[in-house]
């Protein structure tokens, strides 16, 4: 394992310190925590706060999306490990303006439990808190017998929509309704070429042969649904798009937003090639995305691969929220 780090156990605090000192115009750290809040406090006055977070290793998520028009605060946990309730609560307290706080949580047992405990703590202090648990990864089937689907790159689009609505004065209840309405329309599936290595663990989360890929891998190296030999970009697009189409039934008369997301080690060059093939494949179905983003938004340390998110815009306002101006490091 080669990494530009110091002691593995110092990875997260050192990263957070570097981030807030490099970008003081966007972020400030809540003292003695790994919670980062918006520096521009004036932009939060009178509005509902939006707090997200999760394990570290997904940069620029989540701190990169803190700023006017998007998140009010982000909480960084240990690598691939949910932040703890006291840290989440510190972020809630720091952003509460008396209008309540909305939490965006990804569907992992740890995240759900820790954010729930933070919610209990905030309620004891009379801060009203509501939340959404994002589960956009369609690679894993919804089943009574599993934890359910995972929260992955589609979460960033949830941040964007909610952040724009909150900036325009949406109430806590309105944000909750908006989040519930958006959630079933977020669909993500990924393909991995190689695994991530958690610094404290020191070895990759799974093994893939040099010529092998795995479809449906999660953002913490959770297993996917099929392994096979590496294929050209066009064939990867065909596979991922077909997987999404099974659920979404892509239709030329509908509007879609698209996020092509690099998993960490995949160069933008390859992401643009994938986008080229994706846009061709969509055009064959008569679809031109109403909104598109390509780049590293929700990574998995140095995992190589790409995730594709298709967000069906069933409400015209959602497109306005996606294009609404923001002041963040990474949107």
């Amino acid at each position: 394992m080669k990494k530009i780090i110091n002691a593995p156990q110092d990875v997260v605090p050192e990263m957070v310190d570097g981030l807030v000192r490099a970008y003081p115009q966007y972020l400030k750290q809540v003292p003695d925590t790994l919670a980062m809040v918006r520096s521009d406090t004036a932009s939060m006055v009178g509005k509902v706060g939006i707090v997200s977070g999760g394990g570290s290793g997904h940069e620029p998520a989540h701190a990169g999306f803190v700023g006017q028009g998007m998140l009010s605060a982000a909480v960084a946990g240990q690598v691939f490990t949910s932040p703890t309730p006291d840290q989440i609560y510190a972020a809630i307290k720091a952003v509460d303006q008396g209008q309540g706080v909305f939490l965006v949580v990804k569907n992992y047992s740890g995240d759900v439990m820790n954010f729930d405990m933070a919610k209990d703590m905030a309620e004891m202090d009379d801060i009203e808190v509501q939340s959404i648990v994002v589960d956009d990864d369609i690679a894993v089937k919804d089943s009574l017998y599993t934890q359910g689907r995972r929260g992955v790159a589609g979460t960033v689009l949830m941040h964007k929509v909610l952040g724009a609505a909150a900036d325009q004065g949406a109430s806590l209840d309105e944000l909750s309704q908006l989040a519930q309405a958006v959630l079933p329309h977020l669909n993500t599936v990924a393909v991995a070429l190689s695994a991530a290595t958690v610094p404290e663990v020191g070895k990759p989360g799974f093994e893939l042969a040099d010529d092998e890929i795995e479809y449906g891998v999660g953002i913490h190296s959770e297993p996917g649904y099929r392994r096979e030999k590496i294929k050209p970009s066009k064939a990867l697009v065909t596979e991922l798009l077909a997987k999404i189409d099974e659920r979404l039934h892509l239709d030329a008369s509908h509007q879609y937003a698209v996020l092509v997301n690099g998993m960490g080690a995949t160069p933008l060059m390859e992401q643009y090639i994938f986008s080229h093939d994706l846009l061709d494949a969509l055009a064959e179905k008569g679809i031109k995305p109403a909104f598109m983003k390509v780049g590293n938004y929700m990574t998995s340390i140095e995992m190589a691969g790409i995730s594709l998110t298709i967000f069906e815009l069933t409400d015209a306002k959602w497109l306005d929220y996606l294009t609404y101006p923001v002041k963040t490091i990474a949107w």
């Binding site: 394990g55 240990q78 949910s82 439990m113 820790n114 599993t146 958690v198 913490h220």
Partner: protein, 195 residues
Amino acid sequence: MFTAQAATTWLTKFGDAIATNKAYLSDLDTPIGDGDHGNNMARGMTAVQAALATQTDADLTTVFKTVAMALISKVGGASGPLYGTAFLEMAKASKAGTTDLPTLLAAALAGIEKRGGAQAGDKTMLDVWVPVVAAVQADKLDATLIATAVDSTKPMIAKKGRASYLGERAIGHLDPGAVSSGYLFTALLETEAQA
């Protein structure tokens, strides 16, 4: 009667077992989870041992509460809230006047079940907690029972947590939370044997 001193001994022994087996627990977590259970528990138990060292005159409730807060604030993941909730529930039960170990452990078990929403058979720490708490109530806890409970997770399909994404591929692997819970109760047996 379960004393503050016994609780401190118990948790110190548990911390030592976690420190010794940190790499093993993370290795168990790699094929079916995300490879961090040992590191996370070690970070939490180091904080627990440090906090307990400063509280030599604490009562039972304070010991449990100190342990709970250290675990909740240091472990993260799913293990932090689950182990943290267990000790928080024992703190609440002891505050209500209980010093009876079977009753304390029953409160802890109920807390874990509520927080995680899992059941025995789901390949989680509960597959150790459920039979162990029943054995403590019947005064029949021994090392064999703990080992059998831990091993029972091996052939199971996971229904909660990250391992649930593996389906049948989780079969043949021990659940790391069940293994760490095994250490917790082994430490308890050793503590009781000393008393």
